[in-house]
């Protein structure tokens, strides 16, 4: 299909207004920036629609003129791609700037219907204004990050409502062909769609999953379920001294989650993950090209009064007193190991590394964890996001592997396991100096080796930086890749939506045009 960008921009200018079609050099440059090893990917333009109908106009014009679009919500997905398009020259559709309305907060069945620009902070503030009766499931990422964008990329929080995609119910989507669909009971005619945001399934196939981590449509609104805010919330924390303790930690956490005794996920952060937000790699600043040393880590642990691993969880209840017996139960369980050192909620409030966990599990957005990006200067940041079964020996094996690969490439091993009953997602953070070509190449090589070695052991990733979407999709069975391509062709026949995002291409898209 031939591309006529100029005609496309004329058409969308007529639909949106000229001021919402931005080609200013500063805008284009900054939207092309990201923290991954690859080069900048400047878009051809940035569009700022204010409604679903305007999004539909954009998609139709893109189909007509053969222009590639790249929708974003708030673009705070630092370490996974930021706001940059998957390919340079795609036109960004920034849904965050104007489509940022909380359309409804339902305080009976506890959900909020939001547009893509609604951030965690915005929803938190609105819920607080309404009396703090409901809580947002916060990530520990940027407070201005978008709720829908995070959910559609299958991001997660830490409380009982941690599964953000799973907590979505009822979407409105502009498909790649320009059609608008509402999923579930939202598909019925009329305005009184009383079950749209409370029932996930309706008659026929449940399509919602098609739009998470895909490029088949643009979600323009959806509801997210919200948990009632408990009167009291008390955390508990345990510090373990040695790297090899991860196996025992996983085995200790598993039964507490299988029976759902502990309502939150467990945050199991290693020393650097916990302490990097408050510190800098002094060895690197003095010229070291190696991974942060074992001696350095010991010094860091002593400085912060923490250990090789920090385990955090939280209980909710009627009062502190009502929660206390549960805390004592967990304490007794962990202290069986003989290695766990207990840190109470009140003590943890004064320890930055642990207060981050408290905010996150208590539904309070906070920017404090972002400080880890300054562990090494130079703006390089990517996240490798595999996982482990909740079996200590398997977790330990993967931990040894990851640690070894990081060290081989001179990277600092920064990791947090977020543990549920059967599975723990391993947030592996790479922080490096992108201005240093050698270091940039090592960070890239490190990620690729991690991806290959983990995959060899049957471990894929849950999310991925945009630079590696092709890599990860390429590891999947060809028939599945083909199926994705065929769905792409069905819903986006001209292939105008984020071609290549998540490694998904229209069938027939040649390698040369990718």
């Amino acid at each position: 299909m031939t591309t006529d960008l100029s005609a496309f921009l004329d058409a969308v200018s007529a639909a949106l207004g000229k001021e919402w079609v931005d080609q200013r050099p500063e805008t284009v440059k900054r939207y092309g920036e990201h923290t991954l090893p690859g080069a900048e990917r400047p878009p051809a333009a940035v569009l700022f629609p204010e409604s679903t109908q305007q999004v539909q106009s954009i998609v139709r014009a893109a189909n007509q003129h053969g222009v590639q679009l790249y929708p974003i919500s708030t673009g705070n997905n630092i370490g996974l791609g930021s706001r940059a398009p998957i390919k340079p020259g795609q036109v960004i559709v920034d849904l965050g700037y104007r489509m940022n309305r909380i359309l409804e907060v339902n305080e009976e069945t506890c959900f909020a219907e939001v547009q893509p620009g609604v951030s965690f902070q915005m929803l938190h503030d609105e819920l607080a204004r309404r009396g703090d009766k409901l809580m947002v499931s916060a990530t520990s990422g940027p407070p201005h990050g978008g709720i829908l964008g995070n959910a559609m990329d299958r991001g997660a929080g830490y409380g009982p409502y941690f599964d953000h995609f799973g907590m979505l119910c009822g979407m409105e989507v502009v498909l790649g062909n320009g059609d608008i669909v509402r999923t579930g009971d939202g598909s019925l005619e009329g305005d009184n769609l009383v079950n749209w945001h409370v029932s996930k399934y309706s008659f026929g196939p449940a399509l919602d999953g098609l739009f998470a981590q895909s490029n088949f449509g643009i979600v323009t609104r959806a509801a997210i379920w919200l948990m009632p805010r408990p009167p009291a919330a008390r955390s508990f924390h345990f510090v373990f001294p040695d790297d090899e303790d991860i196996g025992e930690i996983i085995d200790l956490c598993r039964p507490m989650k299988l029976s759902n005794f502990v309502p939150t996920l467990f945050r199991i952060s290693n020393d650097l993950y916990a302490m990097a937000p408050e510190d800098q790699n002094w060895e690197y600043l003095q010229g070291s090209k190696e991974a942060f040393s074992v001696e350095g880590r010991r010094t860091l642990q002593e400085k912060h009064g923490l250990g090789a691993w920090q385990v955090s969880g939280m209980f909710y209840g009627a009062s502190d007193a009502a929660i206390e017996p549960s805390i004592q139960r967990v304490k007794a369980h962990f202290e069986r190991s003989g290695k766990a050192r207990y840190i109470s909620h009140d003590e943890a409030l004064g320890i930055p590394a642990l207060s981050i966990a408290i905010d996150a599990m208590n539904g309070r957005p906070s920017a404090n964890e972002l400080g880890m990006l300054q562990w090494r200067p130079g703006s390089g940041n990517s996240w490798f996001l595999p996982g482990t079964p909740m079996v200590g020996r398997q977790a330990l094996e993967l931990d040894r592997l990851g640690r070894e690969i990081y060290a081989k490439h001179g990277m600092d091993y920064i990791i947090m396991h977020v543990a549920s009953a059967r599975f723990a997602r391993g947030l592996h953070v790479l922080v490096w100096n992108k201005d240093d070509a050698d270091e940039n190449a090592r960070a890239d090589a490190c990620y690729r080796e991690l991806a290959h070695e983990f995959a060899k052991r049957g471990v894929g990733v849950g999310r991925a930086p945009a630079d590696y979407h092709d890599l990860h999709m390429g590891m999947m069975m060809p028939s599945l890749q083909k199926a994705f391509g065929e769905i792409k062709n069905a819903l986006d026949p001209n292939g105008i939506l984020a071609q290549g995002k998540y490694g998904i291409y229209s069938v027939g898209e040649t390698v040369e045009t990718r």
């Binding site: 001021e19 200013r24 500063e26 805008t27 900054r30 920036e33 923290t35 700022f48 708030t74 673009g75 705070n76 630092i78 930021s82 706001r83 965050g96 700037y97 305080e107 009976e108 506890c110 951030s119 902070q121 915005m122 503030d125 609105e126 607080a128 204004r129 009396g131 009766k133 409901l134 940027p142 407070p143 201005h144 948990m227 009632p228 805010r229 408990p230 009167p231 009291a232 909710y316 209840g317 009627a318 009062s319 007193a321 009502a322 206390e324 017996p325 920017a367 972002l370 400080g371 880890m372 990006l373 300054q374 200067p377 130079g378 703006s379 201005d435």
Partner: protein
């Protein structure tokens, strides 16, 4: 971010400092969505990243900066919302100050801009002159239509004459503690505040002396310097700051001071920064550090004193507005809320707390349209929580919000003084406040087994239903 300063440029301390700060910016962009002017203007150059790049270019190129660059930097509120979300803690506060000083020293503004800036920079820090100008301004209000349109918006900022108590306390120097003296503190009287709202200092001194502080207001201490500093008039700012440092250090070396208490948070941010401002001054560096080390916002000091609970007043619903200087620069957010709650008020937060109200020192005088939008937005956010009273810790915010909200607004310390036996704050005199229902206090259970079951109730309608059972 890489810079390309020459060795000659880097020999200048302010360029060396800018170079260091610029080097920390990684263009992550977390700052952008929290920036009020980016949100309103939708221009990359009106967000922190854009301004950082512009300052970099301006300093690297040298010479006279372009009016376009100056416009973007002038539109910065210095609210420091960006610094609260920056992952790498870029010291934007000092960078933008360096940029402003550079502009002031290397660019001659058109007379229409220059004269008001010069006049305000000279008059505002001098209470006697400011008082006279204010009187002239009130007179001019009667002939507003005859004023140049470019200055007309400023007349809207002139408040009614303050209802000062007949013997405003801040005219004296030493206020002895009532009963036993437990602490000795200096209070910064300031420059604009005692003229516009002398009752704030009065409430501060009353409360502190009632609680056992001997309060010193040295005659030689006055403007903190921030008004000039944020206009790029560094020399004038340093002169005012130096006078304060000498006056306070004299007290510290004399009878001693437990704290330097500041009740205008815009000033407090600057006083706490004296150590940095004078770090290159051989004579005053150490003294400035000593001053900064004991400078505290009034709420910090009151909390450190261990203010007792009070139940004198009904639990009036108070919307607490975070002044940017307190929230973003000084990180003081918990103390004022805790103090107000201990004093019996029902404290509620305001949405978009990271958004400036548009006061920002002299910003509402030089950027009236943006300040208007921000003021109206803040007032709307406050209205949504339906408070009876608004409290804030900075006089600039108080005067700005008052323009856009009909809800009475007072300084936090006025409410605390009132709740601890002081008079009704002037802004609440004659205001009929409905007595709210007493807030339910949860009885402490004797054991976990007796812990109550909480039913969260939906209170929006009469048809209440349970939200959660705990």
């Amino acid at each position: 971010m890489k810079t390309s300063f020459t060795e000659t440029q880097l020999a200048r301390p302010e360029i060396a400092e800018a170079d260091k700060i610029l080097g920390t910016c990684q263009h992550f962009g977390f700052c952008t969505s929290g920036c009020p002017t980016y949100t309103l203007l939708h221009d990359e150059n009106d967000g922190p990243r854009g301004r950082i790049d512009l300052i970099k270019e301006m300093l690297e190129q040298g010479g006279s900066p372009s009016p376009k660059t100056i416009g973007h930097i002038d539109r910065c509120l210095s609210c420091m919302s960006c610094m609260t979300t920056c992952a790498v803690k870029v010291d934007y506060m000092h960078l933008v100050d360096i940029g402003r000083v550079y502009i002031e020293e290397n660019y001659r503004r058109p007379w229409r801009d220059r004269i008001p800036r010069d006049v305000l920079g000279y008059v505002l820090p001098r209470p006697a002159l400011f008082k006279a100008m204010l009187a002239a301004g009130r007179l001019a209000l009667r002939f507003e239509k005859l004023m140049p349109p470019s200055l007309r918006h400023m007349t809207k900022l002139i408040p009614e004459a303050a209802k000062a108590s007949p013997h405003s306390l801040a005219a004296c120097t030493v206020y002895p503690a009532q009963n036993e003296r437990r602490w000795r503190v200096a209070v910064l009287a300031g420059c604009v505040q005692p003229v516009l709202s002398p009752h704030i200092n009065d409430a501060t001194i009353r409360l502190l002396t009632r609680l056992g502080c001997e309060v010193i207001v040295p005659a030689a201490a006055g403007c903190c310097g921030s008004l000039n500093l944020h206009m790029g008039k560094r020399d004038a700012a340093m002169q005012f700051a130096a006078a304060n440092i000498r006056a306070w250090v004299s007290e510290m070396d004399g009878e001693g001071l437990d704290a330097i208490v500041v009740n205008a948070s815009g000033c407090g941010t600057t006083v706490k920064d004296y150590g940095h401002m004078f770090s290159g001054d051989a004579d005053l560096a150490e003294a400035a550090h000593r001053v900064s080390n004991i400078a505290m916002d009034i709420s910090e000091w009151l909390q450190s004193m261990g203010l007792s609970d009070s139940a004198l007043l009904p639990p009036y619903k108070v919307a607490y507005h975070d002044a940017c200087s307190l929230r973003n620069a000084q990180k003081v957010t918990v103390q004022p809320r805790d103090l107000l709650r201990q004093a019996g008020f029902h404290v509620v937060d305001v949405g978009e707390a990271h958004f400036c109200c548009g006061s920002a020192g002299t910003y509402n005088m030089f950027q009236p349209e943006l300040a208007r939008q921000l003021g109206a937005r803040k007032a709307a956010n406050i209205a949504r929580v339906e408070p009876q009273i608004i409290a804030a810790g900075n006089i600039g915010c108080i005067n700005q919000i008052r323009l856009y909200s009909g809800i009475p607004i007072v300084h936090t310390v006025e409410l605390l003084d009132w709740a601890h036996g002081g008079p009704v704050p002037p802004a609440l005199e004659g205001v009929r406040l409905e007595t709210p229902e007493p807030m339910a206090r949860e009885p402490e259970p004797a054991s976990a087994a007796e812990a109550p079951i909480h039913l969260h109730r939906h209170t929006g309608t009469s048809d209440e239903s349970d939200l959660g059972v705990w």
